[in-house]
Amino acid sequence: MTKSLRSVHFFVTLAWMLLAFWMIFLYAPQELTMGEVQRIFYIHAPLGWVAGTAYTIVFFSSVIYLWKRSPVADDLAHASGEVGFIFCSSLLFTGPLWAKPAWGIWWTWDARLTLTFVLWLLFVSYLMLRSYVSSPGRAATLAAVVGIIGFVDVPIDYMAIRWWRTQHPQPVIAGGEGSGLDPRMLLTFMVCVGAFHCLFSYLLAQRLRLGRARREVSALRRTLALRSPEE
């Protein structure tokens, strides 16, 4: 990606985030029972969607890496794992901040919350594997295996509030009869989902650039180390 494209990506992300914030605080109506604190929903739920997207990218990239041994796929899986970890951590941080005033408790081990915590642990395991296994090829292979097996958690986490009765609210998007949002709330929510995905794609592109530079440095180091002093 050229420098000008990076700038465009940055400014689009910034503008989209500003629009999302304007809608959260000035456009979306106040929810009747929870009041102002319900506005956490507009960041909390999109963070969850992005965390799911990030792990899905880890999954597909890991499959491609194991199949084709493509370093590009490995870089993408690693980058998405790292950026996804940031989003999943934010999800787990904003959830209790909404749960405490809404439910009176910070946390409960219901199906949705537990599966989201498992997703966070998967991101952590994935990144730890990449850091602690010294051989880069072995680290990439082991991480790809974790990336593929761990993906089982993503669809179950998504369906948890549909399959089981949970403390976590039932779905308001694609939740069937009786569910739904005020049109202004829905529009705000969709803009926020787009804005957070745009932010994710920006950070992912930056992290990919870092991965490429790291690979280039390693290759150059190897070339120079192989060169004999007499040359």
């Binding site: 506005r39 904003t94 932010l199 950070l203 992290r207 150059l220 180091r221 120079l224």
Partner: protein
């Protein structure tokens, strides 16, 4: 209060992460330039 903490902590976290990415990128870029100049001059790499 909860709303303020959620929004501000979120932005602090994202700014710290973006800042750490740019720092790591700058460090690698510097290392890359040093290595390229060593490769051009033909000097061997000093043991790290």
């Amino acid at each position: 209060m909860y709303l303020f903490v959620a929004f501000s902590a979120l932005w602090v976290l994202f700014f710290i992460y973006a800042w750490s990415l740019s720092r790591r990128q700058a460090r690698l870029q510097k290392e890359l330039e040093e290595l390229k100049s060593k490769a051009e001059t033909g000097r061997p790499l000093a043991p790290s």
